[in-house]
Symmetry: C3
Subunit: 339 residues, 3 copies
């Protein structure tokens, strides 16, 4: 699309000499590369605007600063940007209801209304798929697995036997739900496997990112409560409970039997010890290693993790540590000169 | 099952007013949620008992403390608990021997007695599957791969060509065995791939958790010796050797050509440098980064990892560092007041 | 192969009493185990030679030191070693062009000359596979995905809709390209999903290791530029740009909208914050956590990461910290004795 066309479609104005330039995509100011159109609606993004690599930016009428991208003046940059999206974003892929002829669906499985089951899917006996759910290609739905309504299981997902997903659960490719918890007993000179006979239970509106793993419980359940969102490559061990509306960033790891509260945020690569409790509303910083229970609303950083206040203080002390050595050296010299 | 029924089946006693309450699962004191039955057999778990969320607990006759779960008095809580398990734990899934008609098994592959090969499995020419092994749905067994007896390959596993697994090896879903080691040579302005022509060799009784990766060797083999257990999302690089009966927790990473001894424990998210040796019986703490070889039986913590004694000392010193700054300030003030 | 045969094939000499010993593989001095043959061509590997577990080593004529492996004297150890490789390394697996009859390839997909499509592959409408590319078993190629020439997609790979791969891109098993970026907006008491409508664009000669994940952009693209190599279990978030010829080691994680330059090295398990820039030629140490932008050519270590010089200084200060406490104690004692 040319900048002239952008201006026409948004009722805006662009300098005639720039009107023939082309854009091929939309992006935020920050993310834009040459060829992208971005928008600037809020003065707090002025710094991002000045650094933006966008070819052109929608700016509000009256915006006078000379910037590196071409300016297209419009009435409401955010609204105009949203209006342009359909031209650049193809419609979402539709999966029409039906079972692909290649799928192996047990006659003892129950498939709801309007379900899509893709090529090479396996649905084992006793499994139940709720209405309007999508089970994409190559996914494996084990014996007795319960999947609710309007769930979306992306390609190449594995769900071991008897695990349950409620409604509107999204599971991205490569995720493994319900593999055995990591439990052994050392006996007769070898690590003997402790049977992992529990399940994984996932409540409404949970989303789990690509290649994450959630192990089944020894007894009972590993439990992810409603509204919690988990990023890619995260590890949830056996018998962990994660509360409602929590956020687990990529590569997080939670050891066995730990309880995570509601509205908890675990930033990227955080590691949480087993058999502890993380209270509601806690924030754990990226790459932190939490060894003990954390009270509600606390903020912990570092490995081992400490309250953010202590973490910041230690950081400041470390910064001045060389000076402390110098000060002690001077004290010693002063004292020596006195003797 | 009602608590009355639990009491009846275990020859125990429960207060009549609680007999109609229902339990739906079994759990440890620690892991129990409302609806679960737990058991208390050993005084050292008294603290866990007092905090338990279980609906009811099997306790020994004579146990008099008032606790929040309902008490069911029985002769031997551990034995009674084990006796109840069959009622709550469905029997393990049986995979009857046979090759699913959808599987693509090369006529040049050798399939042993009593093997199960699931839907959409691919077994390439020259592969060999030992007696009574299970190759679950969607797994890929590459050219010339050797799998021993009574192995269990869960759904969606990939084993690249020529790798070997001995007997009773369990590989969970999403694991990739034998992908190319990460080796390049910088030449002519680009990273040129170094062919990775070795294999992965896995000995008896090894178990590997979901979505872990074990790369093939440049020459020779990446080698996992018997009885070693590996958790989820671990990374074993090319030419690594892991000894017997070692334990690798989730998200551990081991760089190329490193040798890990027997009975080593690598706790969660530990990272081990390349080309080093970790002696027999070593323990590496969670999230530690090991840069140099570690002598047998040593315990290392931290990133970079140091002997646990040094780690603890540093931790204590850091705790008192603010006070040290204060003490130096006071010394300076005293000295100034003297001048 | 016996050592006598090795000597014969390389025009070398071995002591007659050792000639009947067998080797079964080749390895580097470092990686060799009993049964392996290694070679010693460069004096800088003398230490590795002395510690080598190899059964035998090719050494240059005139090498006189007594070592534990059997010596086989040859003209040029490196050249002779390379000449022996074909006897030990089976030829690479050939995938003859063609579409396996079990594959589900949309008639609306475009398949180039000489392409191999393996069993149970799914190619959705609008996808395009360039000449001589290999799409191995169980891989899923989404709607409108563009794959260039001579690419190699290993088994069990998932590529979501509209992502693009240029030429000679290698994607190992379990990789997920184009899953949704991790973006939510908190509204009406819940985390609402922000649609991720962009793509992943991968340029020529990129290789991505097993079970890594590259998320699609919110708008625009997550972009991996030519020649970059990524190891296993790495996480690349939405809208990240990675420049040319960079190296990302295993278990690295990069948060959203960050830009990584050309010839950057991110060592194992490094974590990079979102919305920052890592300049060309930067080296980030293993397990480091980068919180702020890093200027070109800088070397950063630690979590939080600091310039390597500061990191080393802090490390040295920590080593002497106990002594500093002792020195302060002595100063205090001296002062007390003076009063």
């Amino acid at each position: 699309m040319t900048l002239g066309e952008v201006a026409a479609q948004t009722g805006g104005w662009v300098a005639p000499e720039a009107a023939s330039q082309e854009i091929s995509g939309l992006a935020s100011l920050d993310d834009a590369n040459p060829g992208d159109l971005a928008f600037f609606a809020n003065p707090k993004y002025l710094k991002a605007l000045r650094k933006s690599r966008a070819t052109a930016v929608l700016v509000p009428h009256g915006f006078g600063e000379k910037i590196s991208p071409v300016r297209i003046w419009v009435d409401d940059p955010g609204v105009c940007f949203a209006r342009l999206q359909p031209a650049f974003i193809p419609p979402a892929i539709e999966f029409s209801p039906g079972v692909h002829p290649s799928a192996v669906v047990s006659p003892e499985a129950a498939i709801g209304e309007g379900v899509f089951i893709g090529p090479f899917v396996v649905v084992e006996p006793g499994a139940k798929i709720g209405a309007r759910s999508i089970i994409a290609a190559h996914s494996y739905i084990g014996h007795g697995v319960q999947i609710g309504e309007e769930c979306r299981i992306y390609p190449n997902v594995t769900i071991y036997e008897r695990c349950t997903l409620a409604n509107r659960v999204f599971i991205h490719s490569g995720v493994v739900i319900g593999a055995d918890g990591f439990g052994y007993e050392f006996r007769d000179g070898a690590h003997q496997k402790i049977p992992q006979t529990g399940i994984v239970q996932i409540e409404d509106d949970v989303e789990i990112g690509a290649n994450s793993t959630v192990d089944r419980a020894r007894f009972g359940r590993t439990w992810i409560r409603r509204g919690t969102k988990i990023d890619n490559l995260a590890q949830i061990a056996h018998n962990v409970t994660i509360g409602e509306n929590s956020i687990l960033c990529a590569q997080v790891g939670i050891s066995g039997s730990t309880r995570i509260g509601n509205f908890v945020t675990l930033a990227g690569k955080a590691g949480i010890n087993g058999h502890i409790e993380i209270g509601d509303g806690v924030l754990i910083g990226a790459m932190s290693g939490v060894t003990k229970s954390v009270a509600p609303k606390d903020i912990f950083f570092g490995a081992p993790a400490v309250p953010v206040k202590d973490y910041m203080r230690n950081f400041a002390l470390m910064k001045n540590l060389q000076k402390l050595f110098d000060r002690v050296k001077k004290l010693e010299a002063d004292q020596a000169s006195r003797d």
